[in-house]
Amino acid sequence: MGGTPTDLKLIDENGRRIDGRLPEEMRPLKIEAGVLKRADGSAYVEWGNNKVMAAVYGPRECHPRHLQNPERALVQCHYNMASFSVDDRKRPGPDRRSHEISKIISEALTNVVFTEYFPRTSIDVYIEVLQANAGTRCAGLTAASVALADAGVPMRDLVASCAAGKVADTVVVDLNKEEDNFGNADIPVGYVPRTGEIVLLQMDGDLSQEQFEKGLGMAVEACKKVSVLQRDALKRRYAAKADEGAEPTEIREGA
């Protein structure tokens, strides 16, 4: 992580962070569902200075065929950072980091999707980071689960995600770029609010056990707030049409 520049004060005398937040305060989060016309489901997330788009296609026929699972659907996530998403141009194309993030997000989502309903298929999730400012995997996962629900994929719950970390020996939630670069630790968490399961957990940097537990607790609390916004985004998409609705007698029986 490199050494902290001595003149950079990540936490000031009043306990405020570099962007004026309190340790347990999240950056402003905005979620919108159904933003892309050609995808089966989509979502756009603005989380502080992060801008992330997620698109879902499927369930659809799985290619290449040898990846097909005869019993369940495959959730395949593709995380990508736009070349203009960071200060120095990011060399386009898959790299070690994006492979890793794609893998962990796929695994987190597989835990909530009813994959057994769609044997032999693949559910493709594309996450595009348009602007990055630390915490893009959390923003990506948050957007991806909204996009999945928007595509009508049956799921047990939406996955909410947020990070916690340690900055200037203080445990804080939702690190921004400076805190991530010059702080001591970062713990992204993916959380299923209904059951309390944790479907994504990583740690970069070092923490004592007490600090870790405190951070995890704070991240979980933040995830609960994220979850409220995710649900709101999906409901808002149909709210204009909501008061009326489909006629129940038309449901196909035995479907």
């Binding site: 309903y117 629900a149 999906l234 008061d243 129940p248 038309e250 196909r252």
Partner: protein, 230 residues
Amino acid sequence: MQTSDSKESPREIVVPGDLLAISSKNAGPGTYSEGGKIFASQLGIKHVRPDSISVVPLAGQYIPYRGDLVVGKIVDIGASNWLVDINSPYPAPLHVNEVPWRVEFGETGRFMSIGDIVLIKVVGVDERKRIQVSMQEHGLRKLSGGMVIEVSPSKVPRVIGKNGSMIQMLKNETGCRIYVGQNGRIWVDGELDNIVLAVKAIRMIEDEAHSLGLTEKVKQFLEQNSRRGA
């Protein structure tokens, strides 16, 4: 679109993971139960019936069920079968034994070729979602002429309407021949102007799938426009 406050309660939008009920009712489509509680598994509209709770989905892919009438497109030809795209994640092979003609081995291409549109029925789906389709029932055939449009499969029930009221009205008002497949494909044939009108009406149904009194609205639309055309 009218928005009346008085009837907001019965049309509740639910999101995956929302608690629908704590009861012994049956968990219908779009829901799942865990520990005696029923939760939504899909984004949709909550629908409570006396003995079960279900969610009418707002989006989703077409998943074939036995007995579904679908509009398919031939995408490949084998020696003894045609491969039909039925707008679902699963390909549907149509075997020569399932068509109304006697087809010699290797002669499949002489009966139907790639790009042809067919009206077929799903006669079998196994647990691995292998599909069997047939063209041997009355009314099932190759569809020539006309055009095919696609709507979201979750909106097919709205295009058909209660006991077929919507589709019957569409056929009467436009004079078109229309087949609605459960897979969201709709085949329309008739006079060009009438086709255009029917397609517009179907797009209108798709856009306003959730409004009440939709059949009346579409009827009005059709009457106004066909009069202008005459």
